[in-house]
Amino acid sequence: MTQATLPRKSRFRTGLTQWLNALPFVAVGLVGVLVFVVYPMIQNVKVSFQEFNILPGQNSPWVGWDNYRSVFDDPNDKFMIALKNTFLNVAVTVPINWFLAVFFAVVINTRFVKMKVAFRTLYYLPIVTSWIVVALLFKYLFADGSGGFVNYVLLNVGILSEPIAWKSHYWSAMIMIWLFHIWKTVGWGIVIYLAALQGIPRDLYEAADMDGASATGKFFRVTLPMLRPITVFVLINLVNGAFGFFPQVYFITAGGPMNQTQVIPSLIYMEAFKHFHFGEAAAMGVMMGLLVFAVTYYQMTKIGKQRLF
């Protein structure tokens, strides 16, 4: 950095000038984020060390690490179960979601396919529908007994011999949650990849044609490498989305059966607003945030420098 060689005072002055130049544009956004996002977050950290009192004006005594300790001391291991599920959700849904996004985007982008826009619109429909509505719809489709649509189909096709009570067993509930999540969000990846595919310069394919590359050859030699940068962006968002499961669990199983399908955000919500355990909830939030940050930090640093679009 050239700045490092400058004398201290003028370096400060340069920095100040730079800030003053940028400030008119970023000020509103910065203040907004500081007040409505960062400040509540700092409050969260504070509450995680307190026995929080919901009444205004009442003081909330400091309790040190007690909240963190009681998160782990829980005889039912709610936090650990939620943590395990959170990672499981990432491990299962991210690859599938990513694969389907690339797959459908490539298929839609096939040169001879007509009505690309229509297909894109249809695939995007779940994205623009509200989570609550889709959750209700899925609960309805996966209803128990032979009257639930999914059971009905599986029974008629002969895959099942008797109806499944989807929400009553751990694995079937998890599968339902995963299907719900993938169905609701895969359209986003498709749209992003479609855009990326359309941005790949034609001449690259033409060059490959001249080399006599086959269709698959072109896919691996041209398409995939060209999609690399956008893939980072997509994966970060998919991972973040999978870590952030909330409506997926809260509106479908509410953590049941026996808290087995709980994930961290839904657990935080229920601990805070159902049981008034604000301290523990905040502690879980802090730990979750640090964890996700650590997991995605490497990609983050890349993102900072990378041109995504």
Partner: protein
């Protein structure tokens, strides 16, 4: 890089501190009127006061509230305007918490009875026991619903309406099971359920896995949750009688006698009852008013069902008390007017009006005055109330219930024996009660 980050953080902090600072100063004087309030009251010369009332009444119930209760109260108390706000049931507790924390709670709220001790223990509710006229209100209403408002010996709410669950049978399926009338004992019920088993029908209507669903059977079979003053679980929830009661319920379910709705399965309890697959369910009175009020409905619950007291077991015919209490919040801006409404609302006449909406009154006189010809189903519920128990009315009940529900679910799903599940629940509940 590191240095610049700390500069930014310092910068950020200044903003935040400025934000908090401003907040504290403004938040301090608790009596200061918010801008909206100011504009409301400036419209009228002085006295007229608006009190806000949060409720979750359903469509048909809200109609009675809007068309009869509100006008009547406002005519009798011309200086008070009753502002009714219907809240969605989903996420209601979050709304209460946010409102209390932000000093923006309404003056009055109708809430589930089990919330009252918990919110009272957080200091959110106004203490009523020392208000003028409290004793008159207390003596006019039934005792058992009144008890659900106690926290540390003081009252923080008044019972607005009460209810309980009774046994509801599909009249046709009951005949198929070989009975002319509702079974009077648990043994008769089990026998009838066994008769139906071969037809793929279920006879025992334990309707959900939680305390609300299971307790009536648990109690009737002789189980206990706590001692009589709600201070001890050890030796009660895990007593031999309690373990046996839970074991019995587990064995019914394993035998296939219990409706699948118990574990959240389909059909739902009323669907199963309507179709005749379920001989019995248990439920409160609300669905009768929903069905009778729905023009599209073709199932007449009065002709096609038989309502009766829960079948008696070794512990008697014990149901569970439900219902809603009327509370006022600690930082209500108009505590006097709120109390005026509470007293009025618990009087005989308003309570009788709410019977039209399917509410079971808590006012004794109003309950006695119910005309069984006009309200054919309510009598059974009032009778069952004589032997219905409240869920443990202590602030820790919310947490306790979560633990209790989990132990029930583990036992019924077969993850643990009834004895293990209850012993573990006792251990965990003890830890909470000790806090």
């Amino acid at each position: 890089m590191k240095k610049s980050l700390s500069v930014v953080l310092a910068f950020a902090l200044t903003f935040v501190l400025a934000a908090c600072g401003g907040g504290n100063n403004e938040g301090a004087p608790s009596g200061s009127a918010s801008p909206s309030k100011a504009s409301e009251s400036s419209a009228k010369p002085a006295e007229k006061v608006t009190i806000e009332y949060w409720h979750t009444y359903s469509d048909s119930e809200e109609k009675v509230l809007l068309e009869k209760i509100k006008p009547k109260f406002e005519t009798e108390h011309p200086n008070i305007e009753l502002k009714l706000t219907r809240m969605p049931y989903e996420g209601l507790k979050d709304q209460v918490i946010a409102a209390v924390a932000g000093d923006a709670a309404p003056d009055l709220m109708r809430m589930d009875i089990i919330w009252v001790p918990e919110l009272a223990s957080k200091g959110a509710l106004k203490k009523l026991s020392d208000l003028p006229g409290f004793d008159d209100v207390k003596s006019a209403v039934f005792d058992s619903p009144m008890q659900t408002n106690i926290f540390k010996g003081e009252y923080y709410g008044v019972p607005l309406n009460t209810n309980t669950k009774v046994a509801i049978y599909n009249a046709d399926t009951l005949k198929e099971a070989g009975l002319d009338q509702a079974p009077a004992t648990m043994d008769e019920l089990v026998q009838a359920a066994r008769n139906l088993k071969s037809q793929g029908k279920q006879g025992i209507g334990v309707s959900s896995i939680g305390a609300w669903g299971v307790l009536p059977y648990f109690w009737s079979l002789g189980g206990k949750v706590t001692n009589d003053d709600y201070t001890q679980v050890d030796g009660y929830l895990n007593s031999p009688a309690s373990i046996e009661a839970l074991e019995t319920i587990v064995s019914w379910n394993n035998e296939g006698l219990v409706i699948p709705a118990l574990l959240g399965g389909e059909p739902g309890s009323w669907d199963g009852l309507k179709s005749g697959q379920y001989m019995m369910i248990d439920d409160g009175p609300w669905f009768f008013s929903i069905l009778l009020g729905d023009a599209e409905n073709t199932f007449n619950p009065l002709d096609k069902t038989v309502r009766a007291q829960l079948p008696a077991g070794p512990g008697g015919s014990i149901s569970v008390v439900g219902g809603e209490n009327l509370v006022s919040f600690a930082n209500s801006k108009h505590p006097e007017e709120a109390w005026t409404f509470m007293k009025w609302m618990l009087g005989k006449e308003p309570q009788q009006i709410m019977v039209e909406a399917g509410m079971v009154p808590t006012n004794r006189e109003a309950a006695q005055a119910i005309d069984p010809g006009q309200n054919p189903y309510i009598g059974t519920f009032i009778e069952q109330l004589n032997t219905a128990l409240p869920r443990t009315p202590i602030p820790q009940w919310g947490e306790m219930e979560t633990i209790f529900n989990l132990s029930l679910e583990k036992a019924i799903r077969g993850d643990q024996t009834a004895a293990d599940a209850l012993n573990e629940a006792v251990k965990q509940i003890n830890a909470i009660l000790a806090k």
